[in-house]
């Protein structure tokens, strides 16, 4: 028990030092490390395995939507970025630039992609001739670079991994539908895989993507009450089509500009996972995304038959595609309990001589700390059931926190106080950029996503007629 205590106290207190707790957790569980260049991260196997599970889920969903994977060059001619006026303004301050290559100074500087709209639209403009070529819908899994001043692993780093989907449609309605469908794919992924409920909706003009007509966002609420923008989809209208000359012959034989969209989620999601589910003992992984769903820990492992039984259970679970690890190292069981608790493994099975005698394994749930006896003769089904239960319970817990975090208020001071007290508010706003800017400058509070359009109320800040009801909060 001493050891357990010692282990736990290695993490900062999440109530009072949430930021330090986050850093402690991700470093100590071997999810990530700092890279040698300031602002970069190394995603270690335990973190990368989470990303692989997210990829597997989303890749399948994208393909169901008729999206195909492709790969576009990372280095973009500087002139491309400048094609769309808002886009260059949004990204120019944070790009990394290749100025020489192959021993020679380049004639045109090359931008390391911060996002690929410009280069993908350039290629699309060559490939798209007629309405028969539409919709064109491609996705790429890749790295992007955005040189940020303040960085934190997973949340904001100079380089990160993501997917970016890009579609071109023949009508504005089809483009708008793509942005809605993909937003749903994302929020379903968070709910079903990561057990994370989200606020979804349109972003305000102030908060939309550089160059978009409309941006939709999916926001998760962390345990410290701050929001994390976990994914966005952009209806780009004809902005990029005009900038890149994407024209198609429509059914009437008339040349028209296409309507494009883009949408992406990144390794930020791993940060969300940590900050939505983690507790004072470390990570808590929902089974569906957990790199290790069940860890088996032999008790009195030198005793006859213990290791054999553990191996047998491991094989049985593996055969049903349960991600299982048997830790047969020399560390004490207590040390192992702590380690896998901190790593957030959803289910621990302890198997010792007495368990075997009784035909059971002792299971300990990470989500409730509950101990239950599982029958060894029916171990696969019982583990599967428990994992499903844990998944459902973790979503329920996350939803309770989520709902408790949202405060409806029409009073500005109450709003500021609530948000400073780790809440998100739902309030009316006039929709004016200047008004939104003033709130942000005074408080660092920003709008998250629009809840609904409603002009029958007053703006929480300036008192003018409202345009919409919108979520306000602080953000990562």
């Amino acid at each position: 028990m001493d050891k357990e205590k010692q282990f736990v106290t290695e993490l900062a207190d999440m109530q009072t030092e949430f930021a330090q707790w986050y850093t402690d957790v991700i470093l100590k569980t071997d999810m990530v490390d700092y890279g040698p260049v300031k602002g970069t991260m190394v995603i270690k196997p335990y973190g990368y395995a989470v990303w692989e599970n997210i990829q597997k889920y989303l890749d399948k969903e994208f393909k169901k939507q008729g999206v195909q994977n492709a790969y576009f060059p990372m280095l973009i001619p500087e002139s491309f970025l400048k094609k769309e006026a808002e886009h260059v303004e949004g990204f120019a301050p944070e790009v990394a630039v290749v100025t020489y290559a192959g021993g020679e100074e380049l004639n045109e500087k090359l931008i390391v992609r911060p996002t690929s709209e410009t280069i993908i639209c350039d290629m699309y403009s060559k490939w798209i001739k007629s309405y028969r070529d539409l919709p064109m819908a491609m996705n790429q899994w890749c790295n992007v670079v955005r040189w940020e001043k303040t960085t934190r692993p997973f949340l904001r780093t100079s380089e990160f991994l993501w997917q970016e989907g890009h579609t071109v449609q023949a009508t504005p309605e089809d483009a708008e539908r793509d942005t809605q469908v993909m937003l749903k794919v994302y929020s379903d992924c968070l709910r079903n895989l990561l057990a994370i409920p989200t606020l979804t909706g349109r972003k305000t003009e102030r908060e939309k993507f550089a160059g978009a007509l409309a941006t939709y966002g999916m926001e998760a609420i962390m345990k410290d009450g701050k929001c994390l923008q976990a994914g966005t989809t952009h209806n780009l209208g004809q902005n990029f089509a005009k900038a890149s000359n994407i024209k198609f012959l429509n059914k009437e034989g008339v040349l028209e500009y296409g309507y494009s969209t883009s949408w992406g989620v990144s390794t930020r999601l791993i940060g969300a996972l940590v900050m939505v589910h983690g507790d004072e003992r470390g990570l808590r992984m929902p089974p569906n995304v957990a790199p290790i769903q069940t860890v088996i820990i032999p008790i009195a492992s030198k005793k006859e038959g213990v290791i054999e039984k553990c191996e047998e259970v491991k094989s049985l679970l593996e055969n049903q595609d349960i991600r299982v690890k048997l830790d047969n190292s020399n560390n004490t069981p207590g040390w192992k309990f702590n380690e896998y608790e901190m790593k957030g493994v959803p289910l621990r099975l302890e198997i010792g001589p007495r368990d075997i005698e009784n035909g059971v394994a002792t299971a300990v749930r990470r989500d409730t700390h509950e101990k239950v006896q599982l029958s060894l003769s029916n171990i696969v089904e019982e583990v599967q059931n428990l994992l499903n239960e844990i998944q459902a319970n973790m979503l329920k817990q996350a939803e309770e926190n989520f709902n408790a975090a949202i405060v409806k208020t029409d009073d500005y001071n109450k709003m500021v106080n609530a948000i400073n007290d780790k809440k998100v508010t739902l309030s009316y706003h006039c929709g004016e950029m200047d008004c939104e800017d003033e709130i942000k400058q005074n408080t660092t509070i920003k709008t998250r996503v629009i809840h609904s359009y409603d002009d029958t109320h007053k703006c929480i800040y300036c008192g003018k007629p409202s345009r919409y009801r919108v979520y306000f909060g602080k953000q990562y």
Copy 2:
């Protein structure tokens, strides 16, 4: 038939203009396109799907070997590259360099990774403390940049996709074993998935990787007799461990440098696939790697029940994880036959009213052009059997070409003539770098991999005692 001819003649003649044929095939089948920056490529969905199938195969094999995926930063401090003397000499001329980022000139220039030995070894040096941390074995799927003067899609491009595995072992024997095991994983992948036989063996001193103790190569022979280095594994000895200070406490409590390896294959493999199997009609995809394994083409598709039957067969095949496409477009059947032949789809099913009446589908093999009737009542099994047969036959055909391309000769003029006549030779060589260089300068012929060590013969060029028997050839 006119249409068919027209289609076929869009490709250059592969006998007389192999290079142009290659370019025609990869562009016209929508595998790839040129990127906007000279020397870059866009991998289009039909090409990328091949890469995904290669990834799926290899990723599973790596994990079986205990290798875990991770991700390391792409931008490497310039000083890192200089840590290993041979390494910097090998890569410095072809790196792309980021000199400013975030609007500021960088204090230290950053290299876009041409390969990640230096940054991965730097991280390993922090993570490895004791023999208990070994072996450390990680892989990453990523992009790399090497600024090449002469480029061709898939074969040599400024940016390409690859995987790079990096292990550290406690003993030289374990490191050597890693390089051998991974070479076997690679050559099995080529044989089992891509139906490509390879020459495997150690590279000569002249041809080894910059900074390695020993490099092992896997070489495929293209239809024009040139070799393509399709994968390499490197035993780095303690070179990088010393350069990066990777030290571990061994079991005796003594600090030692680790022994590292690295190994990689890239999107080059797609080029090999094209040039080993392609024919005058275009691509030929071995079923195991084919993005589309079976295409269904409705005949007289307006007739009652035809589309329904095609859809039914499609579902049946899909349910057994056969990658199937139903082309129900307005193009004529003849046009479709040509298109999917050019795309190399291994099996075409034609289903028309008469077929349905007779309870059959007409199957046409891409490898033999053979037409066979398959029973609709047993279609899944018959398609599966045929796909297996095609896979086996394509490997057999490739092996016949491979064996016919290798000429044993101890006469220098015969060697040069044979290689100019699209062959690879197996000949004795003294093992001196200068001698190897002279051959290369005179003929562009290089050594490929060492067949066997043998000092009982004479060098084919200088006549001094042989050191080994080695394959010679021209290369991509």
